[in-house]
Amino acid sequence: MLKKEEVARIAKLARLGLTEEEKEKFQRELSSILEYVEKLKKADTSRVNPVFSSIPPLTVKSGGELREDGPEKRQSEETENLVKAAPVSRGRHIQVKAVFE
């Protein structure tokens, strides 16, 4: 069973605030789900390459397209809509709390 400190560590990595009650509940739930997926250990994956997607990886050689290497022209309305959606903004900038202490 996952230790409570482990749950707290994962929550901090995931930037999720959890109550003490939630941490305990997650200890049990996460442990039981992780136990279920242990089933995967029984599969023989000795000489298999992982497949991360059902389509082949995109590269320029395989036909992937690159856009022009220059600034993209954007409508000012687009930018305004994006800034408007931010919870805290000032002028054309999104405002955040201090990044450095």
Binding site: E29, L40, A85, V88
Partner: protein, 479 residues
């Protein structure tokens, strides 16, 4: 035609009616808006009804019709979309409080295409939060009810879309499918649900859950409608580098030459007896109609659900990092008690995200973390390769694979919500398909205890048009 009969029309019937001037596009749209006002009080399929937009779009189609210009088959046809598909200037919540008041700044590519063809948007439908769930009970707002039995779930996560089609509150709907989220609700609600090959439909404007698995797909009253909608939304899109152009149409299907595989691992213990019977009866009718049925094996089937969940948890933890209270959505930043940047993240996500979402983010963070990446994520992606190989081998012998969609009919609201694992097992017949990126469709094949049962047809990668062709033929046989 009565108002109710207008709501029962298929796409082709609506189109013919508009051309013959039996009714106007505005009348057709108003019939649906009224039906939603009456029926949705009980069903709760809609999160947002876009009355003004729909009326404006319908009026534009009427102008086109009266000017004598030809109209496309989708012009004037009312439809709705799962609330994780962006429509410019409309609210888009993904079924979550963290996006409760978020207004989309652009149209998804599928929306742009359907708007260009004159489709009329009725509104946005309810879903499990961020598409995480198989019942619509994880919506942060309210559960949607199954039109066949209001005490039961419509399935999920595109439950609102499926219920809206089944209750005639729309002609068709768009949902999204990551492990069965279009096919399973379609089967629970007695309608058709199609998941295209991964890459066949652009994901631009679809709120991402698992980027290597998600696909948008239509939920419709019959296969012909699914084909019409699919043709409108298929296609390479420069805004989605994983999108691919499909091969053009196939030759006409000869049922006697069709070889269908039935995977023995899919007919297991734990299926409801009557569901198994309906699916087997369906297969029997298909065989008597001339198709060649043979048993095949997909040996890595028992690993599909655990592999799927490890992969989906991992991709979720990455895709949902953006909901941090900084650029959009619910934020704790304005709260005077919140002093630091870290607290903005912790508190915004604590308040805005639901239980199932948090659970999956936690699990994904764990499976991707140092020391566990190899044992979980990498191993799951290796198993994924084996699952894909199973299908590739099967498709050397057969052209289509038939399976059940769900081990059960629609379950009661509240019945499975206590144990997340029990809910995850709902995906047992559908998840492999997303792992392998194949096209698959759910068709109604009778009832068990008065509740709809679905049958799944799976095809080869990029043979979407063939799957739809096969489904059209089998639909007639199963009626």
């Amino acid at each position: 035609m009565s108002k109710m009969e207008l709501c029962e029309l298929t796409i082709k019937q609506a189109h013919q009616g508009l051309l013959r001037k039996d009714f106007s596009a505005l009348e057709l749209t108003r019939a649906f808006l009224n039906r939603i006002k009456r029926a949705d009080k009980e069903i709760n399929a809609f999160l947002t009804v876009s009355e003004d937009l729909a009326v404006t779009q319908a009026k534009n189609v009427d102008k086109e019709i009266s000017s004598g210009e030809g109209i496309s088959v989708l012009a004037g046809v009312p439809f709705c979309l799962k609330d994780n598909i962006l429509i410019k200037d409309l609210r888009c919540t993904a079924g979550s409080r963290i996006l409760e008041n978020y207004v989309a700044p652009y149209d998804a590519t599928v929306v742009r295409r359907l708007k260009e063809l004159g489709g009329v948007i009725l509104g946005k439908t309810n879903m499990d939060e961020f598409a995480m769930g198989s019942s619509c009970e994880n919506s942060a707002f309210f559960p949607t009810k199954n039109p066949y039995d209001l005490k039961r779930v419509p399935g999920g996560s595109s439950g609102g879309s499926a219920a809206a089609v089944a209750a005639n509150m729309t002609v068709f709907s768009l949902g999204s499918d990551t492990a069965g989220s279009v096919r399973q609700p379609a089967s629970f609600c007695g309608v058709v649900g199609f998941k295209p090959t991964y890459g066949a439909v652009s994901r631009y404007g679809l709120i991402a859950m698992a980027s290597s698995l998600d696909q948008i797909g239509p939920i419709t009253k019959n296969v012909e409608d699914a084909e019409i909608v699919s043709n409108a939304i298929f296609g390479k899109d420069k805004m989605d580098q994983t999108s691919v152009e499909l091969e053009p149409s196939v030759s006409v299907l000869n049922l006697e030459e069709l070889r269908i595989g039935i995977p023995k691992e899919y007919f297991i213990e734990g299926m409801e007896k009557e569901v198994k019977e309906r699916v087997n009866e369906g297969i029997g009718r298909i065989e008597r109609a001339g198709a060649k049925i043979e048993e095949i094996s997909l040996p890595h089937t028992p690993y599909a659900v655990p592999a799927y969940y490890v992969i989906v948890f991992s991709e979720i933890s990455a895709n949902l990092a953006r909901y941090d209270g900084i650029r959009y959505g619910y934020s704790a930043a304005g709260d005077p008690k919140i002093k630091t940047l870290l607290d903005v993240y912790l508190e915004s996500r604590k308040e805005g995200l639901g239980k199932e979402v948090k659970r999956r983010i936690m699990l994904g963070t764990y499976t991707l973390s140092r020391g566990y990446y190899d044992a979980y994520y990498l191993r799951a992606q290796k198993v994924r390769a084996k699952i894909k190989e199973d299908f590739d081998n099967a498709f050397k012998k057969v052209e289509a694979i038939i399976t059940p969609v769900s081990p059960t009919v629609a379950f009661k609201i509240g019945e499975r919500i206590a144990d997340p694992l029990e809910m995850y097992l709902s995906d047992i017949f559908t998840a492999s398909v997303n792992l392998a990126g194949l096209p698959a469709i759910s068709l109604p094949c009778g009832k068990a205890n008065n509740l709809p049962v679905g049958l799944q047809i799976i095809g080869k990668s990029f043979e979407d048009r063939k799957v739809l062709e096969v489904a059209k033929v089998l639909e007639k046989i199963l009626k």
